[in-house]
Structures are given as structure tokens and as C-alpha cells.
Symmetry: C3
Subunit: 236 residues, 3 copies
């Protein structure tokens, strides 16, 4: 019964109707792998610490690898989003937190741990909601996401403001960018019809949902990596 | 065959007979979520480092989320205890280790890694014993647990004794408290009849086992968080 | 369908034909557990930092535990290699990286993170290739492995050369040893016939493959631990 639910799940919904989202997914994987090479090369070129290149490299490589589960069906296909997000979204926030610390005297590693832990746990709430067929874990996840937004808008912003004006501005731009995109994920989830989330509004069809879940991450991963390194470069 | 075993497994045993442990599980989740809010608020109030509040927050939030798998059956329900423990019990020992380090000059991060690694690995031995239907991994897990107890009673106690007398006493109380509870987990497992552990003694019924596995964690998570922060507060 | 594939998978292939690799697997587990005790004892005896003993302890204990899945069939049996490698091989490289740092002034934790992240991700590519029945993730994994080899042969070698001549020689010996063994893993995978990797060459039979996958790790884990500690000891 549980296994029937899986087989009628997210992957089946995405690939139904001729799998019109396949070219989008392929484009996502190819741009991820190409960006990863650029992220290894850019830090030296832009005089940005190598750690930023390494973090952005793993964000896009991991995410691209997980999207291959949408091309070739596997037991992971219905959970590939969570497998992607549980690694890549904490890394996105790690890059953002280290951007705030860059040039600042304060290094609040307890808050950095809280930020990454909240993000990891909220991804798991999405997985639990889908597996249990219950919307309650999703609600807890939304509360945890508000905690992420609070940390970015409050304590981390104050740390970034300790360093130069240019770096503080770079942080605020990146935090606003990521904050808005991260808030749109649960929104897409909620208005989708892919049965991942029971009680969803069924406004987007499966193909539209899967395209949204290619376009959003493209801006949060591929584009974000270039933006982060470029803004640190120009701020210094 | 493997999958039949799962469907006749822990979750089915718990929910059989009218699921009389449901109110206990619900109470566990509600107290976990309420404690989590208190743990974010208390550090400032009690003048305790914020990192303790953050660690205790994640212990109860993670544990509460995993217990939702006992309310709504999912493919994770038979493994929800391990999913809970593999994150929450290393965090419990992280809080204890940092309590020992608090005020001491020595910071043995190699021993802290050993402590958390032993705990994580011993949780996995429970999962292996259940999945393989073999008691041997359980025996290895008991040996690893003795290693945890040794580290708490030996090296970490000596580190705690470097700091003030009050903090050393606080550490010893907490380490004794956690040590006794952690030793009672494999005992409950061994005398239970939920087929999670082959070769168990069948003294406790499934409902009694699941109640024991609500009461024990309640003292190791919700109560422990308050106790840890209160004892650090009064010791300083 | 997915689950049939699992039941006809790696574990079935290994155990077919009277399971002639069972004594090899048993020997692997027993030597792993015995070595683990030696690794806890040797650092004091050899005047090597305790952290090396702790890391080598977890490498062999974790690996030995995962091999129990080949003795008692479980849902993990087809994936036990990945479950082993995703923890033990990053730890092998952690020991190697810390050997390079030992005595050197430079501590490039960003490169250490990259090394461990590459290794973890390449283990996952093997899992994806097997689950998806597609060889493309395997190719990406080989590229990531070349990244591991580059880091060992380039940046980490240069860091090791900062310290004494003896330690630099010890590092180069260990890095060459691990580099050659790690390169032989995907080779064995590719010439095996256990259907784990679609497009494999079918040169080795299942029993030969599983023996190869006992002999290779034995040198990378049990033997490597002694070698690492002995070489650090004699170099000082």
C-alpha cells in the first residue's frame, strides 16, 4: 500500500503526458555541471576565498546528480527533490553565512549551525509530509523556514554590517535574493497538484510544477554562485 | 519477504489493539514542540551560552518530527526510532560534552568526535539488527555503548573537573542521568516483544514497549534540556 | 518492479552458487573488529596523536558492521557497499589529510572539506548508477575521483612537504598507496558482472567481484590504519 503510493507518486506525475519537462531537466543538469567548473576557476580570477568556489561547486554538482533521478526512474525518483535539497540548501546558506562573516570580526558558529540545522530539518518535514500523506509536518517546516528568514534578516545582517559598507550591501542583496526564492518553494509546493503534498491547491499541473522546480533552483544555485562571488569581488 | 517483514513490523505492533499508545505519542510531540520554544528563550534569561539552547532546540524538534511517523503510517514508521536517535542522541551527548568543556581549558575535540561517532554507530547497529533479523549487530552496539559510558565517566569527567567545582558537579549529575537512561534503552529493547530485535525476551508487550520508548526519551530530551541549562546557570 | 530489481540484485548475485565468498566476508568482519581494538591502543604506544586512532577505529568498525549485511540478507544488502564507503572512504581521506597537516603550518580546511565532499559525492554516483540502471552517474564519479587524486598529488603533497622530510615521505607513501587502491575500485566495478553497473564488461563473476571487494578494502582499511600510524611514528 505504501509502495503503491510511491509508484503513483511524484515521478509518475512528472513523466506523464509525454514528459514535456525532460528538456528542462536536462538543461538544468548541463548548466549545473558547466557552472561547477566555472566555480572552481573563478575564485583565483576574482580574488575571492577558495572556500566559496568549493561550496558553490558542491551545490550544483550535488543538485545536478540528484536531477538525473528524474531522467532515469529509480526508487529515489519520488524523493530526489529532498535528496537534492537536504544537501544543497544548507550549503546555499553556508555560503551566505560565510559571506556575512567575510570581513566581520564576529563569527557566530552557533548561529551558523542553527541556520543550517533549521534548513536541513525543514527539508525533512517536506519528505515526512509526502511519505505520511499528512500536511502537519509541512506546517512545522514553514515555521522553521520563518526561523531561517529571521536569522538572515536579523543576526546575520547585523554581523555583515560590522564589515565594510560594500560587503554589508552585498550580503543584504544576496540574503534578500535567497530569502524570496526560499519562501517561494513552499508556495509552489502548496499550489501544485503532484500529490506530494496532501491538501495542496491543485493550481499548477505536474509539468508546470516540475518546470517551476527547475527554474527556482536554477536561480538559487547556478545563478546564485556567480552572484555571490561577483558581489564579494566588487565589494572588496 | 523482506517487505512483508516490514509491514508486520514495529509500526503494526504498536498500532495493533486499538493503538492505545497514541495519546502518549501525541503528548510526546506536543511537549517536544513546546519545549523547543522554551529552549530558544531560556539561554538569555539564564545567562547560559546560546549554543546550548540551539542544541536542545534541535534535539526535541527532530525527535518530535520523527514521532509523527507513529501517528501517520509511512515507509519510515518501522525505522522512526532510529531516524530519531541517529540525530538526537549524538546531539544529547554534544550538549553533555560542551557542558564538560564549559569553563575548562582543555577542549578535546578528538574525544568529542569519538563520543558522537560511537553514539551514531550504535544507533545504526540497532537498525541493522532489526533489518537483518540478527542479534549480532545489537551485541556490537552494546559494546559501543559501554565505550560511550567510559568516555563520560573517565576523560570527560576529568575535563569537567578542571573548571569550577559547581560546573564539575553539574556535569557529573547530568552524565549520571544520561548514562543511566542510555543504558536502559538496550534493556527495554531486549525485554520487548515487538520483533524489532530477534532473540528478545518478550516481557514487555508492544504497547508497553512503545510507552517505555515515549517515557525514556521524554526524560532524555525534554527534561534533560531544562536540567542542563538550569544546572549550568546555577553552577556559574 | 523496482523491488524485483532489488531482489535480483547484488546480494542475490553474491550469494548464488553456494555463497563461496562467505568465509572471505566473515574474515573481513573479524579482522576489522580486531584491528579496531588495536587502533585504540596503538596511539599511546607509538606516540601518535589519539585522533588518528579514533579515525581508524571508526573506519574499520563501520565497514565491518556494513559487511554483516552480506551475511544476513536485508533491504540494505544491495547497497551495503555504498553504505560502507559513504562513511569509511571520507574517513580514510580525513586520516590522510590530517597526516599531511601533521607538523605543517598550513591547515587548509577548505581543501580538506573539498576532499571529503568529493569522495562522499562519488560514492553516491555509484549508488545512483546502480539504482537508475544508467552508467552516466558512474562517469561523473570517475571525474570526481580524478579530483580526489589531483588534491592528494598536488595541494596536499605541497602542504606535507612543509613539515619534516620524514613526514613528507610518509605522506607520499600513504597517498600513493590510497590513490592506487581508490583508482582500482571503479576498475573492479567496471569489469564486474554483478549488474550493479549497467554497461560493465562482465569479466569478473559475482564471487570474484565480491572477493575483490573484500581484498581491496582490507588493504585500504585494516592494513592502512597500521601503516598510517607506523609511518607517522617512525617519521617523527
Amino acid at each position: 500500500m505504501v509502495y503503491d503510493a510511491i509508484q503513483d507518486g511524484v515521478y509518475a506525475a512528472i513523466t506523464s503526458g509525454g514528459f514535456s519537462s525532460e528538456p528542462w531537466i536536462l538543461a538544468y543538469i548541463v548548466t549545473a555541471m558547466l557552472s561547477s567548473l566555472a566555480f572552481l576557476y573563478l575564485p583565483k580570477k576574482l580574488d575571492v576565498p577558495q572556500k566559496f568556489g568549493i561550496i558553490h561547486f558542491f551545490i550544483v554538482v550535488w543538485s545536478g546528480l540528484m536531477y538525473t533521478n528524474f531522467l532515469n526512474g529509480s526508487v529515489l525518483s519520488d524523493f530526489a527533490w529532498y535528496m537534492d535539497w537536504m544537501v544543497s540548501t544548507p550549503l546555499i546558506l553556508l555560503a551566505l553565512g560565510l559571506t556575512a562573516f567575510h570581513g566581520a570580526d564576529t563569527r557566530r558558529y552557533d548561529l551558523l549551525g542553527a541556520l543550517l540545522g533549521l534548513e536541513f530539518t525543514l527539508v525533512i518535514t517536506g519528505l515526512l509530509a509526502q511519505l505520511q500523506g499528512s500536511i502537519y509536518p509541512y506546517y512545522i517546516g514553514v515555521i522553521l523556514l520563518l526561523g531561517v528568514v529571521y536569522l538572515l534578516a536579523g543576526p546575520f545582517r547585523r554581523i555583515a554590517e560590522e564589515s565594510s559598507e560594500g560587503l554589508a550591501r552585498a550580503y543584504k542583496l544576496l540574503a534578500g535574493y535567497i530569502g524570496i526564492f526560499f519562501l517561494s518553494y513552499p508556495t509552489v509546493w502548496y499550489i501544485s497538484s503532484i500529490d506530494a503534498l496532501p491538501g495542496g491547491l491543485n493550481i499548477l499541473g505536474p509539468t508546470q510544477t516540475s518546470i517551476a522546480l527547475v527554474v527556482l533552483p536554477f536561480f538559487c544555485k547556478q545563478v546564485y554562485g556567480f552572484l555571490d562571488m561577483y558581489l564579494i569581488h566588487t565589494a572588496e
